[in-house]
């Protein structure tokens, strides 16, 4: 067998980095809306963002494949704009991962935002600060444990993703072959050594990120 290929590890980190970055940008405004809205639409959207948590990745993968494919709405639009496909490409699995890991970011944020005292938010408004500045200087710092939870869970969840990437991305080196798929590949090829190396890496990474999360949260809560 050839030596260990580091490309899947690198790709997994890249995927998780982009997914988490996009989730921060998308998740914070979304969580802000969900945390404070009283409308029925909010209830509907909150339910929608939770769906990826309970749906099998194959259901998500199937519909994403249709949506992102050559003839899908998003896929064809992307093709016209960038002359590139989404399925079987990195951008496609980033998009899929963002949807798949959305609840990991939005849920901690929503409960974190809701736990921030209403009065300190209103006091900030009466002191002349806009809603955006209040969000940045008051809400986010006082929900920092939830922000960290969202970040770590989104990143780790994306690292551990399998089904959706497999369905939307296939198995293309440097584009879509993330660690979990490389493990699947190695087991199929009866290359247990490679499978072990990747699997232990994933195990260690997941353990460490959760330990970090709990450790920091414990310190902040004291």
């Amino acid at each position: 067998m050839e030596g260990i290929n580091y490309a899947p590890i690198w790709l997994t980190l890249k995927l998780s980095f982009w997914t988490t970055l996009i989730l921060v940008v998308v998740g914070i405004p979304l969580a802000y809306y969900l945390a404070y809205t009283k409308s029925r639409l909010g209830l509907f959207i909150e339910t929608l963002t939770t769906l990826p948590l309970v749906l099998p990745p194959t259901v998500l993968g199937f519909y994403l494949l249709l949506l992102l494919g050559k003839h899908g709405f998003i896929g064809s639009l992307w093709h016209r704009l960038f002359d590139r496909q989404l399925v079987f490409h990195f951008e496609g699995i980033v998009l899929a991962s963002v949807i798949y890991s959305l609840p990991m970011m939005v849920h901690p944020l929503v409960s974190g935002f809701r736990s921030v005292s209403r009065n300190i938010i209103e006091v900030s408004w009466t002191l002349g600060k806009s809603k955006l500045e209040t969000l940045i200087r008051v809400i986010l710092p006082n929900a920092k444990a939830s922000v960290l939870t969202g970040l770590v869970l989104s990143f780790a969840h994306t690292v551990g993703e399998f089904g959706v990437v497999l369905m939307v991305g296939g198995n293309i080196e440097g584009e879509t072959r993330v660690i979990s798929i490389a493990i699947y590949d190695a087991v199929e090829a009866i290359d247990y050594f490679t499978a072990h190396v990747y699997a232990i890496l994933l195990l260690a990474f997941s353990f460490l990120s959760l330990a970090l999360l709990y450790g920091v949260n414990r310190r902040w809560n004291l």
């Binding site: 005292s117 009065n119 300190i120 209103e122 006091v123 408004w125 009466t126 002191l127 002349g128 006082n142």
Partner: protein, 238 residues
């Protein structure tokens, strides 16, 4: 119901819980919107439901002090006070803290302060941005009785020295007499009495509020659950 608040006047709105006094205060602050209403402060219209005007709290130029102080837990005492200042003047704030004997606490987080200290910080924070109107929602009710007495005096002194118009909501008659230049009593969202505190609270005779077309007047008319609330505060003749 209609009332005016004169410039630099300390008005106390007295009422039991559920009387609508907190809602009234929140409507003045812009934190809540009444069905109908009109609020004019110093010639500036904050709320006019007929014309679709409803300034957000950020644009009203108010200071609001909550019963639970609502200090920012993530900021130090100094940062809390500086937060609302347009020109962040650390020297000035440290000087203010000195006056209250609190300069040693400037870099402490709110959870290290006593109730009275927190209240002073909340008050300073509301005042340093030079608001047109200071709104106080039962600011002293969470404190123990001795401290309350001291702080009532301090609050009144402070308001007079800062030359600021204040509206305080309270359920405590004694507190109303000690601090207020004028007291209005509301029940079920309606003003039942109004006037000089000792008259309102001793004789029980309702006093008519004199309406004036002063450019400094503050006129508040709100439709709340209990009916119309109209408050106009003319410049108090001394």
């Amino acid at each position: 119901m209609d009332f005016d608040v004169g410039e630099e006047e300390f008005l106390v709105i007295l009422g039991n819980s559920g009387s609508g006094k907190t809602t009234l205060l929140r409507c003045i602050a812009g934190l809540e919107s009444p069905e109908e209403g009109y609020i004019e402060v110093g010639g500036e219209v904050w709320l006019d439901t007929k014309r679709g005007i409803n300034l957000p709290p950020q644009k009203r130029g108010i200071g609001f002090v909550f019963q639970d102080y609502a200090l920012f837990p993530n900021m130090t005492v100094l940062e809390n006070i500086l937060y609302g200042m347009k020109k962040r003047d650390r020297v000035y704030v440290i000087e203010l803290l000195k006056r209250f004997g609190m300069e040693a606490l400037w870099d402490k987080k709110p959870d290290k302060l006593s109730g009275g200290q927190k209240q002073r910080v909340a008050l300073l924070r509301a005042l340093v941005s030079n608001p047109k109107l200071l709104l106080l929602d039962e600011p002293l009710s969470a404190l123990d009785p001795d401290l309350r007495l001291n702080l009532q005096k301090e609050l009144k002194d402070f308001q007079k020295r800062a030359c600021i118009t204040a509206i305080m909501v309270s359920h405590d008659r004694e507190e109303a007499i000690r601090t207020g230049d004028r007291v209005v009593i509301i029940q079920n969202g309606k003003i039942v009495e109004g006037g000089k505190p000792y008259k309102v609270l001793t004789s029980g005779q309702p006093l008519l509020i004199e309406k004036r077309k002063d450019k400094d007047r503050i006129l508040i008319i709100l439709k709340l659950d209990g009916g119309f609330l109209e408050v106009e505060l003319p410049k108090e003749e001394l």
